[in-house]
Symmetry: D2
Subunit: 451 residues, 4 copies
């Protein structure tokens, strides 16, 4: 008599050596099969940090390793919940270990719909990686779907509903997606490790020791408040120091302009792109399918850029070369409305020396909300972090922590105006006058009203 697929476990757990979690342990045949699925292996070819590795050269890791990490943290939470807080012990707030497999699958697959340089790519082509994640999980032709469907009828949809937060068990949903979830915890630790920054470190072991299920989600015991605080601050620091680094964004705007410019050029002369860059054509045409999307990865895009860098159109080749050879645009901070007239003046100076300001300047805005309490009327309200007192009372985190209160609800980040590096030249040459004029607009890294 055969063991049903969903219950098949490996005789000894299979282990993936991981620098963050040491060992990633796989116990279920289902999980091993999902890892080996081609849509999941494809994540090896998509960098986790996009253009950040141009600033932090160690940050070259892929979404593949991050996805394994999210799985592993989720697995550890399930272990702790099953051991100490099972539904058998506490029928109201306890954890039902029958939810383990759906939680593990959702954790592993939560990013499977990511594509190359998602952030930029999506803003240009109007794609949505979360929707693709759902599609990959629920489209019958994918290997992922076929594996999940062997578990039981409707299981793919169940997993997808965790991703879309519609799954009825909120403990499962919040493990994978909330303001302090396995996803965020893994990427902070992982990105900190690979970039070699230390801001992202927080005490995961301690967080796992104070995490608790309750009837409507997950929370943290009140004596773990400082550990949670530390996580919130780490998150804030990683955004400020790594994710929003001005140089990485200087590469992002190059990428953005490169793809946009290629799109425009395609309208005029599609033949070149059809021949050399076939996988992008459906996106230029805005008629892409899931299959088209699955053909893309960092390698494909980059290899196209290599071709474009030899294109006779000078702007296309210049932008491609800037991206490949890491020539970011430079930047200054500015204050939204107030400085905009000055930016217009600066653009005129840039055009004077021969640059097309539309291509060679950019505005880039990076803002993050490190933590927020629940605001029912906000556009996308967040699940707040709850602390549990000894007697079971729940208190929202920022009520208890002045540190979190300082960050809560306050948006951090900045707005930057990007322009060609040349404008900062100080040596004598033909355009010295214009350069000097331009530089008078800048003081202490900001646009300066009183130039």
């Amino acid at each position: 008599m055969e063991i049903p697929y969903k219950l098949q476990t490996l005789p000894i757990e299979k282990v993936f050596k991981d620098p963050i979690h040491n060992d990633i342990q796989v116990e279920h045949q289902v999980i091993l099969d999902l890892i080996n699925a081609k849509e999941f292996q494809r994540l090896r070819r998509i960098k986790q940090l996009g253009t950040s590795s141009f600033t932090f050269h160690g940050g070259e890791h892929s979404r593949f390793s991050h996805s394994l990490g999210v799985y592993e943290i989720t697995r550890r939470i399930c272990d702790i919940f099953a051991r100490n807080f099972s539904i058998e012990k506490d029928p109201v707030h306890g954890w039902n270990d029958d939810e383990r497999l759906v939680a593990l699958c959702a954790a592993l697959l939560h990013d499977v719909g990511h594509g190359p340089y998602s952030h930029t790519f999506e803003s240009i082509f109007g794609t949505n990686h979360e929707q693709f994640t759902v599609d990959i999980i629920t489209s019958p032709f994918t290997e992922i779907y076929q594996i999940l469907n062997k578990v039981e009828d409707g299981f793919p949809q169940k997993v997808a509903s965790v991703i879309t937060k519609q799954y009825p068990n909120k403990q499962v949903v919040q493990m994978i997606s909330s303001q302090i979830d396995a996803d965020r915890m893994d990427y902070l630790l992982r990105d900190a490790y690979f970039t070699g920054t230390e801001y992202g470190t927080f005490d995961l072991t301690r967080i796992l020791r104070v995490i608790r299920p309750y009837n409507n989600g997950i929370c943290f015991t009140t004596n773990g408040m400082h550990a949670v605080e530390d996580y919130i601050v780490s998150r804030y620091q990683m955004y400020m120091q790594v994710y929003f680094h001005p140089v990485s964004r200087g590469m992002e705007v190059v990428l953005d302009h490169l793809l946009k410019y290629a799109g425009k050029l395609y309208q005029d002369s599609p033949a070149f792109f059809e021949r050399t860059s076939p996988c992008l054509v459906p996106f230029f045409e805005k008629n892409e399918t899931l299959e088209d999307y699955l053909k893309l990865d960092d390698n494909v895009l980059t290899s196209y850029f290599l071709v474009w860098s030899d294109h006779p159109d000078e702007t296309l080749s210049d932008l491609a070369q800037r991206f490949l050879n890491r020539k970011p645009l430079k930047s200054v901070k500015f204050v939204a409305e107030q400085d905009e007239p000055l930016i217009e003046e600066m653009k005129q100076l840039i055009e004077k020396i021969g640059y097309d300001a539309e291509v060679y300047t950019a505005i880039n805005t990076s803002f993050d909300l490190p933590y927020d309490f629940y605001r029912p009327d906000s556009v996308s309200s967040r699940t707040q972090i709850e602390l549990m007192e000894y007697d079971g009372t729940l208190i929202e985190l920022s009520q208890q922590s002045s540190l979190v209160r300082a960050l809560a609800g306050e948006i951090h980040g900045d707005e930057r105006f990007y322009f060609p590096k040349e404008m900062l030249t100080t040596e004598d040459n033909l355009f010295s006058d214009i350069y000097q004029q331009f530089q008078r607009y800048i003081r202490n890294g900001k646009i300066n009203k009183h130039n």
Copy 2:
């Protein structure tokens, strides 16, 4: 009056955040310019560990970060030599700090000629990354050459001669290339860090404390012997556990067969490759130039494999898919001559179930000599590691260390026979008999004479 280029230093050193060395410090304008050169930036697109990241998923770092690391270790050695062991203090054995710039450039550029999956690629196409390194440094059209040539006439050739070990100052040569050099020290530490293994760690700080110049090279004080031993053992362990991992080699043989098969197919139908894989054509035609070579990187190869995976030739598409989706061939150890007749029998069984043994089986041999003392009559004799006594006497390392003696001159590694995973099936099916027959040839992971 302008400062000559070779003496131009940055007002404050520029720093690259690095997870291994914490900070990589750049003081010379020349070094900063070399890092920004496009041939050097290209190293970002070439993985340091090739197929190893299929086994150790963290090992996705590039040759770019390794090259910076080798530069940094060299810089630190120069600092120590200049502070404590200058030629002013010791005219016979001391370090001449005028050699610093050539040492730093050679350290930074020592791997600039690497291409994608060098090991496999070179064995198929007969290319040689070391020759390409020299070519990139000395060909007038490269950015690298142009920067180096601004330092002084003949400087590119000087740097190249360090790479080829012909540079007269052996201290410089051995810093960058000897049995314990900045190159090996960086890659052991770096590969260990990113893969998350700990075998490659040794105490770099202590090595740097006991390193000394002498008139014909570099050596280590005798009280540093155990630190050097530890390095040798780490090297051995990284080879045994990471670089020679059977699964990575199972991917390497897939890649090897894929490229070879494509080469054969090209002879029959070049049109497909000319259209979809133009950058490989010069290599298929064996008429590649340096410019052709510089167009290659991991992205280009991988994006070609993506195209090939849809090719109507089933073997080509199958091999490409195996590589992309990580389906390694499986393997057993064997003893060279003794087991070869058995391998022939095993191949016949493999053919019986329909596989072309030439494509789907392989022999892979990975051997390393962790350390060797000087053997004047050996084919490529190595510079031995010398320990310096308090009175200046030099003693060869393996004379002092029984641990090193155990590894010296002894080749470690193994020979493996690779075959399709299917052959290990234990479930009942049509071919069960053949599978069982096949499996009787294997015992404890080795080919078994007495099956």
Copy 3:
């Protein structure tokens, strides 16, 4: 012709292996001699963290290693200042490297006056470790003094004036004593390492990269703001999670009561203490000299407690045993004035079961100000942390950082009421009624008004 003592350097720097800074490098003969002085070696016998190692068992390191660490950080700052920001380059704001030796000596010796369990000891005996530091440095009979005085006449006084912040060069003073100084930076990193907590980690390398001298002290470049923020938060977290841990304080109150009780007993029966605990007698008598003080260390106190634990006075022996065998008093948080009547009621219950409330209960208050800007009219105003803009403007840290603003000026910590563990018994026994009554005063770890 002999080299003057102050200029004598070691031929090769001497190195102390350190887990935090890897290598601690000593270049001056003066520093090596100071380390070997008996008053400095005595720091090996005084734990850095006092009773904290009862909670964090790894935190058993001594003030000796911390003092070396403070020296090392100061040495690195001097190196950076001398290399990049010398007074030769910038006569107004630059660093004068002639100050190096006084800075290094002050850094090394800043804690040399610490005694066993300083915090508790000082509060009971009215001693002051900072005054003892000055005394050790300036009293002609100490080895420390004799070494310093060989440097030049008045040098001991110079070093002492850095400790008392009266030294005219404020760069030197602030390196060693300010809100972000070598002392705090070392102890946060060191205490975090040894206790195994991760809250104390911040990026020292980055802090050292953004530190700058200016004419009236030290500051940090504005682009280093987040690194400084991270340090402030780490400091806050170490206070909240390690230094103020309720269990360590539960041991501290035991120690406090033990020493106080011994002092009282001494008044009645000095003979026992004169015979068994001679080194404490001058402190009981309040006529201690520097020589008496230098005889004390953790070993002496603890060995006395071992004797006391066999004393016929039951309270003395009980308190000594509680300290030696780690039996902390338990605690609840309370709100200062509001809860005091309730505490009185709780004490009565404690007395009912036979405990002397004066000995077996305690109030312990631990508060810290993580950061403060300059308040000229406050009792002990602090030097604020300044950020330097590109154009040299200085801005006070909390003006720029909302995170620091949240912590600035706000006192963190809590007040706790300590009592015997027995009061929390839940099992049935003779006193169950009293215990239950007592427990009704407590809810969620706090004193509860509405019991």
Copy 4:
């Protein structure tokens, strides 16, 4: 109905924060009670590394933290064995989880009989820490005994028999005491961490992944051979570089001579010691009891040395001061028989300048056997390390590993002759001639035949 004591578990596991294992988890009430027993708490007052912290200042950790670590590693092995290799799955080779509690108790208590500076102390006073361990566990008056005896009748004897290796279940015995056991694994990692050396690190996670029970003990799967090799080499390196460091041994000989000299002085004038050093008297008298032994710790000894350092006997006070103020004797290597006549000549020179050679010179021998296979006829034969093939065959480690073969059976270490530092003086003074004569006996750190 009450749960029997042996089955009482904590509702949520209690956790001790540990820098090596991150969390040490306690699940059984028995274990928590043992940790709180006064004989166990006493281990906080005994340094793990004795005089090594005079060389590696970070190595100030106690036997308390090591004992917790050994417990934790054992607990993890039990978890793995219970999950994957239970006796239910494999009745011949499997692990019987009923053995868990005895294994955990033995692991926790294996060092409970250690005293201050055990190595030196035992050689002088003829005590034996292993015997004391057994006595503490089995003497009815100890808290440890009383706790163990509550588990079941005869349980203390059972635990003691694991320590003496007579326990019938060899899996339990070898977990705690064999050539690769929880004890050695913890101390290598712990000592490496605290001293800041990296030689002791090996991949514990991987070792735990390849460890297996078999019917007569524990073994390691053959594919874990390199991990085991790495452990053996780490062990060798820690002995060579940390445990046998010549300076630590230079302090050890001072301690040895100090205690011996005090013992001699006691014979003549016991009154001083009876008054000031009562706890040592039973040892001087060779009539110590277990209770006497339990009164000793590092604090007691050191506080006695502080008293002795003021004693009118110059030799006693000088030796005590040398120990307290870290003034090690210096040393040279020598070759046993061959160099002994030279040592006699050197001693005469030492006596010439006024030192008593018996007190101020010493021979110190430190040798270790990093690994040995089983030699039935050797005095204390060791359990060899076995590797298990896929088919269950066991192979002794050094059969497979040339690295281990190089270390196996070969004794490493050295013999050193210790003498006063003064003998190495190079400056001109009264005794210059004698010093120079003495120094001619030394070359490259060894005694030199041809002086």
